[in-house]
């Protein structure tokens, strides 16, 4: 088969010691960067970009791809160990991942995250390889109305995220949506809720919100018990996932991979919500949904896999069409162009060595990360043995550092602290904070998409129904909503009665 021989070509390029060495450096760097709360792959890639100028294209791309994947892995590590999201996409991992850590299962959580990411990464690269052109063509059909419909589906996902009353969830989501709307309105140029603080002009930013709401609030809640928190002495059994954990993770990993891939393909930043969608799906189809939030391994396996495969999915428009689908692929595009490579369908013909070398390097990156991360699981779990009283001040300092470094802005840090305080009270009142974060992510995108669609149609709302893809998705959303309202009886759903 032609593909196999192409792959062989790619691997022969990717597996040379020099390339491997750079891949390793990239992955290591990416992991370090990813572990800093808030600093994500974008910063990492931009930092290494000038260093790659003198290198040959394959090596440069391999290294930068390594940074990207490494950052995603690094982000999960802090999410699981400290409940601090490394970047927006890791938020869902914080919930069950940290719960597992608290039960002494940090090692298995990290391991499953690594394995799930590896499988997802590998499978999605296969998908990328085989399906890139046709999928890219479909992705082009996604205009603002389709985007709006997809995001509405994302909103529906919120309904499945909550473990408590729907009303509380709704409240959280609304707060999140409002927070997400802060900033200069894209269409009219008017500033909303910014109170003359220039840094708010571009919006509140998911990173400070997520880090504050999850990480800082967690520390505030746990600080008092610093003496009493159990110091865990890991036995080997505690580092390796148990048989049932592995078995329970298998299907979520596969499902997460699929979801992430599909969501990642859509041009734009929708791929962030892939982990949210995966979490909601796992919870919905699980036989014991009440376990979620308390250390259900599916809640780690699914979202982590979704994250990684969304990463590969996000590259499809870039490789197949030459269009970057988000900020990170855009930098990769710049990197490619600086090295004289123009991605697009002709790339496969004109420079097969680059194209297949890139694909092969994505495999290699995944493997390198797995090898890098699994042994480190033991190291990380040992870190947890340090009494919390010593640990949390440094974690707080890390949060300060990470949030500040993203935009060199103290305003971001204030936001994080503010949301930390908010999170503290919300947790006390037994509110689930995840919908808030999702709201902050979705609001600006959804509103923009809706208003763009209206601009395109000249104010005609029926544009959503008239376009086939958008119409179908919205019909699906409506159907799911109705199904839900009818199935369990809407009174219990709204929380007016006890279940």
């Amino acid at each position: 088969m032609e593909i196999l021989s192409n792959l062989a070509l790619g691997f022969s390029i990717a597996l040379t010691p020099q390339v491997l060495a750079y891949a390793f450096i990239g992955c290591l760097f990416g992991t370090l960067v990813g572990m800093l709360p808030g600093v994500g792959p974008l910063t990492g890639i931009s930092l290494l970009l000038p260093v790659t100028y003198g290198l040959n294209p394959t090596i440069a791309i391999v290294m930068l791809a390594g940074v990207y994947y490494g950052a995603m892995y690094g982000g999960s590590t802090t999410s699981i160990l400290m409940r601090i999201p490394g970047e927006a996409a890791s938020v869902m991992t914080c919930i069950d991942g940290y719960a597992m850590t608290q039960k002494g299962r940090a090692g298995p959580a990290l391991a499953i995250a690594a394995i799930g990411s590896f499988i997802a990464g590998t499978v999605s690269v296969v998908g990328l390889m085989l399906l890139a052109p046709p999928i890219a063509a479909v992705a082009l059909k996604f205009g603002p109305p389709e985007y709006a419909a997809l995001l509405t589906l994302g909103l529906l996902v919120l309904a499945y995220l909550s473990s408590g009353s729907t009303l509380k969830m709704l409240l959280m989501a609304l707060v999140g949506l409002l927070v997400g709307l802060v900033g200069i309105d894209q269409m009219s140029g008017f500033a909303r809720f910014t109170w003359n603080v220039p840094e708010l002009a571009d919006g509140v930013g998911v990173v400070p919100v997520a880090v504050g709401l999850f990480g800082i609030s967690e520390i505030m809640l746990s600080a008092r018990s610093s003496g009493a928190l159990k110091v865990q002495k890991p036995r080997l059994a505690d580092l390796v996932p148990s048989r049932e954990e592995m078995r329970a993770s298998a299907a979520p990993i596969l499902r997460g991979t699929l979801i992430g891939f599909l969501v990642g393909v859509v041009p734009g930043s929708a791929h962030i919500i892939s982990s949210f969608v995966s979490y909601a799906l796992e919870k919905k189809i699980s036989k014991h949904p009440e376990r979620f939030g308390h250390g259900a391994v599916e809640g780690v396996a699914g979202p982590e896999s979704a994250n990684n495969s969304a990463t590969s999915g996000a590259f499809i428009p870039l490789l197949a069409l030459g269009i970057p689908s988000g900020a990170v692929p855009a930098v990769m595009l710049a990197a490619l162009m600086i090295h004289g490579i123009s991605p697009g369908p002709q790339l496969m013909q004109s420079r097969p060595d680059i194209f297949w070398g890139f694909i092969a390097s994505m495999y290699v990156g995944n493997v390198v990360l797995l090898i890098l991360n699994l042994p480190m699981v033991g190291l990380f779990v040992n870190l947890l043995r340090i009494p919390y009283a010593y640990l949390y001040p440094f974690i707080l300092a890390l949060c300060l550092l990470g949030v500040y470094s993203t935009n060199q802005s103290t305003v971001d840090v204030w936001i994080a602290i503010g949301f930390g305080v908010l999170g503290y009270f919300l947790r006390k009142l037994e509110f689930d904070t995840a919908p808030l974060v999702l709201g902050v992510i979705l609001a600006p995108m959804l509103e923009l998409a809706i208003r763009q669609s209206l601009a395109m149609s000249g104010g005609d709302w029926s544009i959503f129904a008239k376009r086939p893809i958008a119409g179908t998705m919205l019909a699906l959303v409506a159907a799911l909503l109705i199904y839900n309202l009818l199935s369990r009886g809407w009174r219990t759903r709204v929380g007016l009665e006890e279940k």
Binding site: L174, L181, M220, A223, S225, A389, Y390, L400, Y404
Partner: protein, 107 residues
């Protein structure tokens, strides 16, 4: 659009308050004191960050939390705080070349 959301928010909050007329557990605020202290310290650190520079701020912050709040041995606190402040600065600012605030006096 925000007005629409604001209306929904208020409606939801009211509904919730109506529903919550069932007795709920009183909020457990026993750790409020330490939380307040942490928040104050974080706030002070944020305020000082760009004025006093990263290293000084982080050093003092960690020192206060370790020594005053958690009452760990002073020599250890100084060592750990200094190590972290200097080490992280070196790693991030010098090696990774992500600028961190440096005060007017170069620290």
């Amino acid at each position: 659009m925000p007005r629409l959301l604001a209306v929904l928010l208020i409606a939801a909050a009211l509904l919730l308050m109506v529903q919550k007329s069932r007795p709920a557990r009183p909020m457990d605020l026993s750790d409020a004191r330490i939380t307040a202290v942490i928040v104050l310290l974080l706030g002070a650190a944020t305020f000082a960050l760009e004025r006093a520079g990263y290293r000084a701020t982080v050093f003092v912050f960690l020192l206060v939390v370790l020594a005053a709040v958690e009452r760990r041995p002073p020599w250890l606190s100084i060592l750990l705080s200094g190590g972290f402040a200097l080490g992280s600065f070196h790693l991030i600012n010098t090696v990774l070349r992500v600028p961190l605030p440096v005060s007017r006096w170069g620290w």
